[in-house]
Symmetry: C2
Subunit: 252 residues, 2 copies
């Protein structure tokens, strides 16, 4: 196996509530950070409505382009929870009740009113799928092939990620270091691009801000190679200081 292979994931957020602006998404950032710890890069995110055809099109596009696909949202007990059906349809698989999911839900709802048809919906999976446990609720996440179907509620999604930690093959995590200057990024644009050109294995991102009445910018150097990263950071710091800039190691 190529040690430099880059593993990627797509993320599909399913939910009218995000597209309406009613709910601020909190899954993208937490999944991105978690993926990087697994040595997997988040390559693309799509957000679509609770609609079979739109979910299916996005599932098939993102799973074809990436090693892994994660979805969040739409796996509850109500009529607008159609993720399992849409993923199964996209894969050409029937939907079946998973016996272990059913047992987990029956145990969870014992003394909470018992099993109902609506609750049984949460035991439905594409045929051949495995479950992703979570300690918080009876409703599991679902793994089918390279697709991971997670809850939309951020703290439940987070528990499902925890259950998956260390189980997915990945490559080297992308490392990053940040330098900050109280400077308009346009004043050091030439330094940034020259430094990036001189360090093939690194990318430099420039993130301007306006704070305490002053403009500044953070420069984030990223690389999968620790030595290359350090060398690029040292070079960038040297070039900025030579240009008369005070550099904050770690960013501002």
């Amino acid at each position: 196996m190529d040690k430099d292979r880059i593993w990627t994931a797509g993320l599909l957020i399913i939910g009218d509530e995000i597209l309406s602006g009613r709910t601020q998404d909190r899954n993208i950032a937490q999944i991105a950070v978690w993926l990087n710890l697994q040595g997997i890069r988040l390559a693309e995110v799509r957000i679509v409505a609770d609609d079979m055809a739109r979910i299916g099109a996005a599932v098939n596009a993102l799973r074809a382009q990436n090693d892994y696909l994660f979805t969040t949202g739409g796996i509850g007990p109500t009529h607008d929870d159609i993720t399992v059906d849409a993923v199964a349809a996209a894969l050409g698989l029937p939907v079946v009740v998973h016996p272990r999911a059913r047992a987990a839900l029956e145990a969870y709802y014992e003394g909470r009113g018992g099993m109902t048809e609506a609750r049984l919906r949460m035991a439905r999976v594409p045929e051949g799928a495995d479950l992703i446990e979570n300690a918080m609720s009876g409703a599991p996440g679902i793994r089918v092939g390279n697709i991971f179907i997670l809850a939309g509620v951020p703290h439940i999604a987070s528990l499902m990620l925890e259950a998956l930690s260390g189980t997915l093959e990945g490559g080297r995590p992308l490392l990053s270091r940040t330098l900050g200057c109280w400077v308009a990024e346009s004043e050091v644009a030439d330094i940034l691009s020259a430094t990036e050109r001189a360090h093939d294995a690194c990318q430099i991102g420039s993130y301007p801000f306006f704070r305490e009445g002053k403009v500044g910018a953070n420069f984030v150097v990223r690389s999968a190679d620790a030595a290359a990263l350090e060398s690029c950071v040292a070079d960038l710091m040297h070039r900025l200081e030579t240009d008369g800039r005070a550099v904050a190691d770690g960013g501002i």
Copy 2:
């Protein structure tokens, strides 16, 4: 013109910093809410890296499927700001310096170190484009055809939206009303789906939460038709109350 026509927009977020999890996106929600006020529905969001080919593919897919396309990010002065080039390439247009953008930048940087090659990058537009003013910085947003290129910094994007308010043709805004119950959504799933089936012009979304040690859910009814919305909300409230649930009008 069909008064029931639904106008849609796609949104493309350009930025490695969102995909790495370093930055929490704050543009999706503000653009979604603003679009709805214009009578335009946000139909899909994609987030891609600072990469010409990926930006181009997303631009062409989203502009073909929607009446409007908005992009955020990648319009600053540094080497990683490639949105203008990527959009122009996707449209098959050359990139030119816009005289009024150049003049605005020259005025802005007068006394701030003057014009530089890096700063002049922010005056570059796809040929034939118009500018979207913003009061905060010298760098304008760009309109080219049905594509609106906005800044990534949320408060500057917000000023650009303000400049566009009331200028885009749209339809009737999607209206919404929320009812809340301290109930597990699985207990009322049948009521929700039966109510939605009885009201063609409305959708009902169910959003569960766990708060103060108890489970609850908000039910958001959406419609472009005010009378249909009121009738569906009244029906849902009646059905929930008949089932013995205490309903909070406005949500919990």
